[in-house]
């Protein structure tokens, strides 16, 4: 048993850490966030040049077939820097869906660009009524000629505003909550009838809702088998959960470091406030939450690229539940420990706190995953 990263994984993580340290000061991040693109084009380019956007892809695409652990190493450092580039959306989810479901021609067309960072993908899997359930799909794809016509709305597509290609789910059969009958489509960003309502996110990134009004695509836009996408989506959402756990751990590490430092340096009543037991115990509770989150992130990474099974489902649901709860605890208690300064825009802690809460709103919150886990409970 050994829970440490191996030498290669450690080197990978160090590479990302160096890049983030050099390029991603808190002040710069605010600039990136306020730009039209909503993140740093230059940083994204460097992720590509260093081969970091290629990590999960095979060698012929410039990657090394990295699995959950490697992806998590990247994500943890991106989390530490509070980076807002759409790595999760483009590399992990977009790239993942196309790798798993795409035919040779589709893989050839898209994966090279996604792996190099020259192409950005985003994914539209949720809808206004779906509430984290990715099988709840009402967007319709009707057969027309040898292609399809898509109608519907996809919610909170992070990075969708600047993606070159959108992977969206739409129903080719079945009722609105059936697993059966869901299909995936590759929709170019400039497709006719595709409208975007773009917005900043409260945690500093950018996203949009997609409105598909009679968007016509060819049969070559169908990703995977018609009506059979639910399993692919579930599997890739699982990989993304593991990646998100890695990011969350990075964010929590910094949030805890900042709070601990503040307890040592802030003086009231003539002593550092860290002398007060009530704050000491709160800090210990925060660290303990971080350690539980770290344990679950490790476990999630270890199953992320394993074949689907109930065990994999259980672990990923458990991990997302733990991450959601520890993230909220560290966020709230960290703000409380900081007092007024924790409430301000200009101090970095608040931005870490916001990211932690919003991670819980991505790919299912702790309630959603608790319910999912409960349905998988076995008396055995």
């Amino acid at each position: 048993m050994d829970f440490r990263l191996n030498e290669e994984q450690q080197m990978l993580q160090d590479t990302v850490a160096r890049l983030v340290r050099g390029e991603y000061s808190f002040e710069k991040r605010l600039e990136f966030s306020e730009s039209d693109l909503g993140f740093s084009e230059n940083f994204w380019k460097q992720l590509g040049e260093l081969g970091l956007t290629a990590v999960p892809f095979p060698e012929e695409l410039g990657g090394f077939g990295g699995t959950g652990v490697e992806v998590q190493s990247v994500m943890t450092e991106l989390g530490r820097g509070l980076c807002i580039e759409p790595y999760l959306q483009s590399v992990v989810l977009g790239g993942g869906l196309i790798s798993q479901a795409g035919n040779d021609q589709q893989q050839e067309q898209w994966l090279g660009g996604i792996a190099s960072g020259e192409t950005r993908a985003a994914v539209g899997l949720q809808e206004p009524q779906s509430f984290y359930d990715l099988n709840n799909v009402e967007t319709r794809a009707e057969k027309s000629g040898d292609g399809y016509v898509l109608n519907g709305r996809k919610s909170v597509v992070i990075g969708g505003h600047c993606a070159d290609v959108l992977v969206v789910s739409a129903r080719t059969g079945g009722d609105s909550r059936d697993a059966d009958g869901i299909s995936l489509f590759l929709v170019p960003a400039d497709a006719q009838g595709l409208e975007k309502r773009t917005y900043p996110t409260i945690d500093g990134a950018k996203g949009c809702d997609l409105f598909l009004n009679n968007v016509t695509v060819g049969s070559d836009a169908l990703l995977g088998e018609e009506g059979q996408a639910a399993e692919v989506i579930e599997y890739q959402a699982g990989r993304a959960i593991a990646a998100l756990c890695g990011e969350a751990v990075g964010v929590m590490e910094v949030a805890c470091d900042l709070t601990l430092e503040y307890l040592k340096q802030r003086k009231q009543f003539g002593v550092p406030i860290g002398r007060f037991q009530v704050l000491q115990h709160r800090m210990v509770d925060m660290m303990s939450e971080l350690e539980q989150a770290r344990s679950m992130a490790i476990l999630a990474a270890s199953v992320a690229d394993e074949p689907q099974s109930d065990e994999r489902r259980r672990i990923l649901a458990a991990a997302k539940n733990v991450i959601g709860r520890s993230g909220q605890f560290i966020s709230e208690q960290g703000i409380q420990s900081h007092g007024g300064i924790g409430m301000t825009w200009e101090y970095n802690f608040a931005h870490y706190a916001k990211r932690l809460i919003m991670i819980n709103h991505q790919l299912g919150d702790d309630d959603f995953h608790l319910e999912r886990y409960a349905t998988l409970l076995q008396a055995s």
Binding site: M1, D2, F3, R4, L5, N6, Q9, V69, L260, L263, K264, G274, R275, Q277, L279, Q280, H281, M283, V284, D285, M287, S288, E291, Q292, A293, S295, M296, I298, L299, A301, S302, I315, A318, N321, V322, L370, E371, Y373, A374, T375, L377, Q378, A379
Partner: protein, 398 residues
């Protein structure tokens, strides 16, 4: 990153399972799994079996009859023994006083006491806490005054677990009142049959007799029963506490208790369905199972780090808090699972040979009492608040 056992570790696990399949007495396992109290005889019978196998003293060097297990092997033993219903070993002799004697005792003490611990001839209890010295252990007042070849001991110890069975007690006593509290403490080994010692039961809230008060009135203890140097006992006491703290998280015990809870919740009905399918209850079980999963990995991370040469530091304190909270939650759910039948206290059903009708579930009788009994988990071995103080000081530097 490798979360799997090696081939040798798997072979060891098979060996453990084969041993338990063959040697663990069914009546004892049934008591443990059904949360019934074990008698002194039960403990001694099992200890003898373990000793014969050479697996009793897992913290001792081999020269004293210990077995050299790696941290992972100890973990495997812990997991398997919890799963099989092996009685928790009474730690006071084998895992507490013995490591202190081995590290700080003289040759005569090693020769005299260690074999008797291995053979089960001596049953040790712990004389640390006093009515006025709980979390603030160093404020203890029991006095030992040197008179010739003896110490004369006067004072009172409390919360002495299973002291009613013990013939030996290791005590922290004050030998110097002139210095700082920590610097005037000595570590004494005392024969419980010495005149002047009185043991009085403390009945706990669940009606059980598990702990005691021990009174010392002019008790004559030979000076050769002093471990190490006079006034240096605090160092030895702290050394012992690090042994006490490892394993207090009780991950294996929680796993066994959770299994028991899920079986119970599958038998109990609510709205005509098994309770485990009830939305609210299944989510409560799910939450504790998830928390246990996280704590179990945290535990493995500590074990792997120790296996790799690290020292289990204050991380064990953090895990003690987690682990005990989880076990208490499981006990809470087991009590809830029997609904109104948590209220009756049906003593006859505690007897595993009971062959009458059960008032409700066959395993219901001990559940409420067990819930109350295990409130102790967050108090003993250093209360959870003390554990947080330790983490705050040792890891966070606050």
């Amino acid at each position: 990153m490798n979360m799997n056992y090696t081939a040798e570790e798997l072979a060891f696990r098979d060996e453990v399972r084969a041993f338990l399949d063959e040697k663990l007495p069914a009546d004892i396992a049934a008591k443990v799994k059904g949360f019934r109290q074990l008698s002194k005889e039960d403990h001694q019978r099992w200890q003898k079996i373990l000793s014969e196998q050479g697996w009793y003293a897992t913290h001792w060097p081999e020269e004293y009859g210990g077995v050299k297990w790696t941290p992972v092997q100890k973990h495997i033993w812990d997991e398997e023994s919890c799963r099989y219903g092996v009685p928790r070993s009474i730690p006071f002799g084998v895992n507490m006083v013995a490591p202190v004697i081995i590290k700080f005792g003289n040759e005569e003490q090693k020769q005299q006491y260690l074999p008797r611990i291995l053979s089960g001839e001596d049953w040790w209890c712990q004389g640390y806490s006093e009515p006025g010295a709980g979390s603030d252990l160093a404020s203890l007042k029991t006095r030992a005054v040197r008179e010739g070849d003896h110490y004369i001991v006067n004072g009172q110890k409390t919360w002495t677990t299973l002291g009613q069975h013990a013939n030996m007690i290791f005590c922290l006593v004050r030998t110097n009142t002139e210095v700082k509290a920590q610097e005037g403490i000595s570590f004494l080994l005392i024969d419980m049959n010495t005149p002047g010692i009185t043991v009085r039961p403390i009945i706990t809230l669940d009606g059980e007799h598990e702990v005691n008060e021990v009174f010392f009135e002019d008790v004559k203890v030979p000076v050769e029963n002093l471990v190490g140097e006079e006034d240096k006992g605090w160092t030895y006491a702290k050394y012992l506490l690090t042994y006490e703290r490892t394993g207090l998280a009780g991950i294996g015990l929680s796993k066994a208790a959770l299994q028991h809870l899920k079986e119970l919740a599958s038998r109990r009905l609510k709205n005509g369905k098994p309770l485990i399918e009830d939305t609210a209850f299944s989510q409560r079980i799910a939450q504790v199972e998830i928390d246990l999963m996280a704590a179990a990995i945290s535990n493995l991370r500590i074990i792997a780090s120790v296996e790799g040469g690290g020292v289990p530091g204050a991380e064990s304190s953090m895990l003690k808090v987690r682990g005990t909270e989880i076990r208490q939650s499981i006990n809470d759910l087991a009590r809830r699972a029997i609904g109104p039948y948590a209220i009756p206290f049906v003593e006859e059903e505690l007897d595993l040979d009971y062959d009458g009708d059960f008032l409700s579930d066959k395993n219901a009788a001990p559940l409420a009492a067990q819930y109350f009994n295990n409130r102790k988990l967050s108090i003993f071995g250093g209360s959870n608040e003390i554990q947080k103080n330790i983490v705050s000081k040792m890891i966070l530097g606050l």
